[in-house]
Amino acid sequence: MNMLTSHEPSSDAAPTARRPGPPLLRVEHLSREFGGVLAIGDLSFTVAAGDIHSIIGPNGAGKTTLFNLVTGVYKPSGGRVLFDGADVSGQAPYRLAARGMSRTFQNLQIFFNMTALENVMVGRHLHLDTRLLPALFRFPSLVRRDSEARDRAAQLMTEVGLSRYIGADADSMPYGALKRLEIARALASQPKLLLLDEPAAGLNATESREIDEVIKTVAASGVTVILVEHDMKMVMGISDHITALNHGRKLAEGTPAEVAANPDVIAAYLGAAP
């Protein structure tokens, strides 16, 4: 497992027990309710920089809600989210993106009114000239950077295995390709932290494996990944750390092996009372 993060300079003496990096994301006593129903309750955990950190739990455990809270889509009812040392609770998603956070969605959120390439180019938004006047009058500097962005987007699409869709309209692409398109778009913003919400859902075994590879490559390039996924084989295979949720509360956490052995987790998945 530890090979996955081998790009990190490992100064530690013990080669088998990898020491976690400094925390990139801290969630403290986070809670959120919807009309009196608690979706997330008093949840705390830490994600170390450079890790692939998975969130697991049965349906309705609050995983997607947690993503929405961390990325600013929802505002927390209580608690805090600290990202890269700063309290970012309740900040708008675009501000968090500027701080280096990006994500994909369980229900695809593709810009179907654009080409695949343009979808990825939107991901470059933070690194481009987005002022009105240069756009209206097509300033040369804007055109130049835009053209670089186009090249970079094409490169990213190739990296996630979408080279054959570079000229395609998004609405003509198959489901599996769109899943990767979201990853490419998220990567285009050069995030420090990437949150992937069920990237393998709805994919067949071959496609899942390919996604698996993509995630590993991403992590290998130094991006911290938080993963929500139902495919246990995948989760157990690539995670450095796992947090298990049930009914919006933390059930267990630890290495894949520790979590897999936790009786509460087993009970939750088998449907017994926690």
Partner: protein, 291 residues
Amino acid sequence: MLAELLQYLLSGLTIGAIYALAGLGFSIIYNASHVINFAQGEFIMIGGMASATLTASGVPLPLAILIGCGGAMLVGVAVAKFAVERARKASTVTLIIITIGASIFLRGVAELVWGKDFKRLDAFSGETPIQLFGASLQPQSLWVMGCAGVLIVAIGLFFNKTLTGKAMLATSHNRLAAQLVGIDVKRVVLASFALSAALGAVGGAVVAPITFSYTEMGIMLGLKGFTAAVLGGLGHGPGAVAGGLIVGVAEALGAGYLSSAYKDAVAFVIILAVLLFMPNGLFGKRGTERV
């Protein structure tokens, strides 16, 4: 002073009752099909024109209203079947344009059938004003408020007590689920148009003795109905009724105490103010976006 206020209130409630009926029509169709039907005002017009012209040619009033109602329902079903249903997947704006196209078309036909002049319909029970604490009320106002009240209660009972009504409600909550339990969603849409058309037509018939009927009578009434429906929260029936009454009364008070020229603006200022603080209207559900 009090007599003056009462006078304005009565005027407002009368016209507000018509707005409420129109707003209810918007809501029913919106619930069934998520379409804002800008031809709602034309249903009102059909009711007003049919009853005015038919009674003028000797048809007894109740029969004339019934015929107007039937005609409007047929037209409503036709709009649903030939325009709205075929464009189910179209965007919101496209659907708005389709119903606007329908309203222009219907006005054109009405002009051809009934002519361009104003029609008069005699008040249902005379024109001797009723004196009420210094305010005077046309008997026809009582008809308007009474009919609107009865219809609103009847619609409420229909949705909550009958199977068809419950099926329509179910469709509005979850179209797919309704389809899965065997509700014919297409028929629900047709029924909603028929029902809205009937509401509009009765409204048009009862208000005609006050406003006269003419082919363009539906434009402003329809617009105010939309305002009422949005004010109450789209798809919320009682909300639309409340919205209609609020708009009507606000207009009358605005005309009386501020300026009659700005009375139409009053309604729109209110709705802007409400939407500023309640983006889903007074009683609308606060939906959270699912991602």
